[in-house]
Amino acid sequence: MKYSYYPGCTLKNKAKDLDAYARASAQALGFELEEIENWQCCGGVYPLGSDEIATKLSSVRALNEAKEKGQDLVTLCSACHHVIKRVNDDMKNVDDIRFRANNYLKLDTPYAGETKVVHFLELLRDTIGFDELKKRVVKPLTGKKIGAYYGCLLLRPSGILAFDDPENPKIMEDFIRALGATPVIYPYRNECCGGYISLKEKDMAKNMCDKITESASGFGADMLITACPLCMYNLNKSASKDIPVYYFTELLAEALGLKEEA
C-alpha cells in the first residue's frame, strides 16, 4: 500500500526521530510512505480568519499532489495534520475559499477536497488495526505505564478533525495496549500544553505543562507519548516534573524491534 506523506518542517530538523521511526515502522508494517515532492511548510497554525487564502495554499498544493497520485495523504506532526485537514475541509465545504484558492493556484483541474488526510495513528487504527499491530510486536513494552498526551491539535474542532472523542479519546491508549504496555488515563491529556505561547510567555506554558505532567504522574504514568514536536518541546522544557516524553513512533519502532536500525 502506497501513501503520500507530508513530513513538515520540524520533522526534517529537530524532530527527525519522529519521522525516522515512523518510516521504519511503516516499512516493517508493509506500507510505503512517499514523500510529497517540494512540499512547503504548512504554517504551523491553521489560519482562522475566514478571509485568509494565501496562508492556506501550501496545504492545498500538498493535497493536490496526493490527489494527482490518487493516494491518501499521511501526516505525522499534530500541527501539520491539523492545518492540512482543516484546509482540506475548507476546500471541500467552503465555496468562497475553494473558489479563491483555485483562482490563485490555476491547477489543471481545480482542487475540491478530494484527498483523504490520514494521521499515522489513524492509519494504524483503521487500516492495519491495533489487533494486527499487536501481532507484529516483537518486543512488547510490558510493564510500562504510559500516559498518552493528545494535546489540542489532533482532537479539536472534533467536527472537522474527527479523530476521536475530543473529551475522552482512546486511540493512543489502544495504541499503547497494542504495544503491550499499560495506558494511564488522566484528565489533562486533552488540555493544551501552551503551544506557540512558550516562545514569549514561558511561565504560562510552564504552568500549563506542570498541570499536565502532575496529573499524569499522579495517576501513575512513568512516561508520556506525543505526536507533536511542539508539545514535546514544551513538556520537556517547561514542566518541573521530571517525566520522560517520547514520540509515539519511537515506542512503536521499539516494540517492532526496529529501534537500533532506525
Partner: protein, 131 residues
C-alpha cells in the same frame, strides 16, 4: 469618530471570524474552559459580548489577544456554537494587519531561542504574532 471606528472594527471581527456573537446565551462555559483564563485581562465570555455590543476598543488593546492559545477548547465546548476562540483570533488579526501591530519582531527572536526550539514553534508564533 471613535464610536463609528468601534463599530467598524466589531463588524470586521464578525466578518473575519465568521461567527455570530448574538448566538451567545451568556453561560460562561468558554471562560470556565479556558486554560489561559488567569492570564487574560478580558475574559473569553467578554470577547463575545464586546463584539456583540460593538464595543471593541478595549478588546483590541487587550493583553488577552496574545494569551489565547487557540486550543479551541472553548469552541469545542460552547453549547451555542459561538466560537469565542475565532472571535479573539479575528481581533488579533485586526491588530497585526495594521502596520506596526506585530507582537513579535525579528530582533527579539534570538534571545528567545534555545538549542531545542522546534521550527514549528517559530513558524506558529510568527503566524500568530505578525502579519
Amino acid at each position: 469618530m471613535s464610536m463609528s471606528h468601534g463599530k467598524n472594527q466589531a463588524e470586521q471581527i464578525r466578518e473575519i471570524s465568521g461567527t455570530n456573537p448574538l448566538k451567545c446565551m451568556k453561560c460562561g462555559k468558554c471562560s470556565a474552559t479556558c486554560p489561559a483564563f488567569n492570564e487574560m485581562d478580558i475574559k473569553p465570555h467578554q470577547f463575545v459580548s464586546y463584539v456583540a455590543n460593538n464595543n471593541v476598543e478595549e478588546l483590541v488593546k487587550s493583553e488577552s489577544l496574545w494569551k489565547c492559545l487557540s486550543c479551541f477548547a472553548c469552541v469545542e465546548r460552547c453549547p451555542r456554537d459561538v466560537k469565542p476562540g475565532k472571535i479573539i483570533d479575528a481581533a488579533r488579526q485586526l491588530v497585526v494587519r495594521e502596520r506596526g501591530g506585530s507582537y513579535l519582531t525579528a530582533d527579539e527572536i534570538p534571545e528567545l531561542l534555545d538549542d531545542e526550539t522546534p521550527q514549528q514553534l517559530l513558524v506558529s508564533a510568527y503566524r500568530r504574532y505578525k502579519r
